[in-house]
Symmetry: C2
Amino acid sequence: MERPIRIKDIAEAAGVSTGTVDRVIHGRGNVSPAKRAKVLEVMRALDYKPNIIASALAYNKNFRIGVLLPDPEIDPYWQAPYSGVTYALESVRHYGVTVQFYLFDLFKAETFVEQYEKLLADAPDAILFSPLFLKESKALLAKSSALGIPNVMVNTYIENSDSLSYIGPDSYQSGVLAARLLNFGLNNHATVIILNLAKGSTNAQHLLQKEQGFRDYYANFNSGSTTVVKYDFEDFDKEELMEGFMEEIFGKHPDLDGIFVTNSRAFRVVESISGEAAKRLKIVGFDLMKKNLDYLQTGEVDFIINQNSVQQGYWGIMTLFNHFILKQKVEKIQNLPLDIVVLENYSYYLRKEKSFQLAI
Amino acid sequence: MERPIRIKDIAEAAGVSTGTVDRVIHGRGNVSPAKRAKVLEVMRALDYKPNIIASALAYNKNFRIGVLLPDPEIDPYWQAPYSGVTYALESVRHYGVTVQFYLFDLFKAETFVEQYEKLLADAPDAILFSPLFLKESKALLAKSSALGIPNVMVNTYIENSDSLSYIGPDSYQSGVLAARLLNFGLNNHATVIILNLAKGSTNAQHLLQKEQGFRDYYANFNSGSTTVVKYDFEDFDKEELMEGFMEEIFGKHPDLDGIFVTNSRAFRVVESISGEAAKRLKIVGFDLMKKNLDYLQTGEVDFIINQNSVQQGYWGIMTLFNHFILKQKVEKIQNLPLDIVVLENYSYYLRKEKSFQLAI
DNA sequence: AAAGATCTTGTGTTCGCACACAGTTTGTGA
DNA sequence: TCACAAACTGTGTGCGAACACAAGATCTTT
């Protein structure tokens, strides 16, 4: 239970001053090769591990992160990543990390541009954003790259970007998993639909990947005996239109067995059809929205895949922190767990989202 | 982006010295009511939040935790909580937290006693342990209580203890979940068995709770049309005996449909029966042991419920840290998530276990 | 060999807070 | 009114590391 080794201990053991040890540790140069070697040797011999507490206190610099996300007021899904950012901030603000939010309307690409212009004008040290609009996001990536501002992406992935990291689900795999779950208890020769309830302007790439994963599951495991049809519908937020659309679906597929809703809006499907229909159908959707959980409890939704969207925000900030403050290596792709949520275990996931460890 | 408020700022604003502010913050007394009120008012007005970094550095005290767990060499399951403890330690050692391990043989109650005697003799500041032996654990609880040493329990719950916290699964609920999973794809009038592969000496209470949860699921949702039978078998580690036992089971239940293995030893079942039998049967077990995952991939095991046993160790240490160093309130019961693990999502959980956030 | 440039090294201050200690004020009793 | 205790308050030091600065050592150049 001996005391941890300090810089001072190394300095004494190596017969130099703490300043020299410091220069060796940080590679600041201006140290004679002989002393440098001696210090390194002593460091290894004593197994020196820096006290990050003291280090952080002395470091005493600011690190400003610009966060570009959809406004949670407009789409409740985005409350989750937003909360994750604020949780993370709670942990790292003592290290001088600050966050400035720039919220846009996820249904309007032009607000995305407006907000990133503001963000860039404020010249933050790093950017966390969700590339919901493909073209505009590439423009942002190019500009921030030119300005030398590093970034992390959450929720939606863009290939070949020079981002420090992507934090979010593996969309393809989430589609495979959804197919597996939907397929439980369905007989052969079933009919299932893939339902994209999204507006056209959004970056639809991850929806396509989900679809591909879903189809591939059936191709690989179910050898084509199941009919899979895809539909897109934009007016999911208009009650009557949505009901009409679902009626149309039932008309076209009287033998429908299951629905895979590719985003957090499974509850909209349940709201637009009768309770009996919902219970007969197998419905699989994403994310722990309040309404989704309500319908999980009534048995109208069968499975929810939790994409851990709170953690997107949390790990987004933490990744920047780990990289720039703690100088740790970070993974370029951080796929978050895909939790299978049913009636019997949903409460744990609700709780988990609120109990992050504070990284003091 | 203004600088955070420091004690010094409060002192200046309140017209007192930093010492007085310090006394108010820590309730050390010896402060006139007037100044005390003034300081509190200023603190609230400026929304003071202490810099825990600096606080931790200055606090500079040791906190020794005695950890009493089964030897991972004897049963591989226990590698997980053990790792969790060392991960947590990595995070909190800078705060002067140290850990001393006391490992016992989970098949021998007397080694549990030996080790806790040693532990108590070393007079740690707190204890983390797993109450695998009921009687002996109650004795330990009584002694540590008498000595005024606080404790947290992991993995197995003992009711009415004065422990600071329990961290582990809700055994009853894990049984319910297991039944739900096993019941997927099984027809009515199925036969399933509950299989306890454990030695008699161990605290079997949580196995009973799992059994109860399992039975209750069938009672509530399946209205009795499924036959549920329970078996205990102690010699699971002896190859021939185990094979003989499984043959006996098949003899008694030629129409067997599913097996619920109540602990981490589902792989022992698969190893003791033919591959075809394993694929035909639905098998549900616990924990991400290497061999369980192998059989998940071959389709011989159908579902694994992840009890997050690494996190038991992690949160065990963190709970003590939060309570005694950070002076935070902690929950008396912390039930860890019950993750449903299938082929399509197991990799995330393996990864998760290795990516704890360092709580600097 | 002297002057200057360059490289090397040690010392001292700072970060925000905890706590010891000394100093000041107020209260009490004779 | 004085002595002394008790209650209060301010100052100073240390936690371990980061970094600025100055001083010392070595090397060039003429």
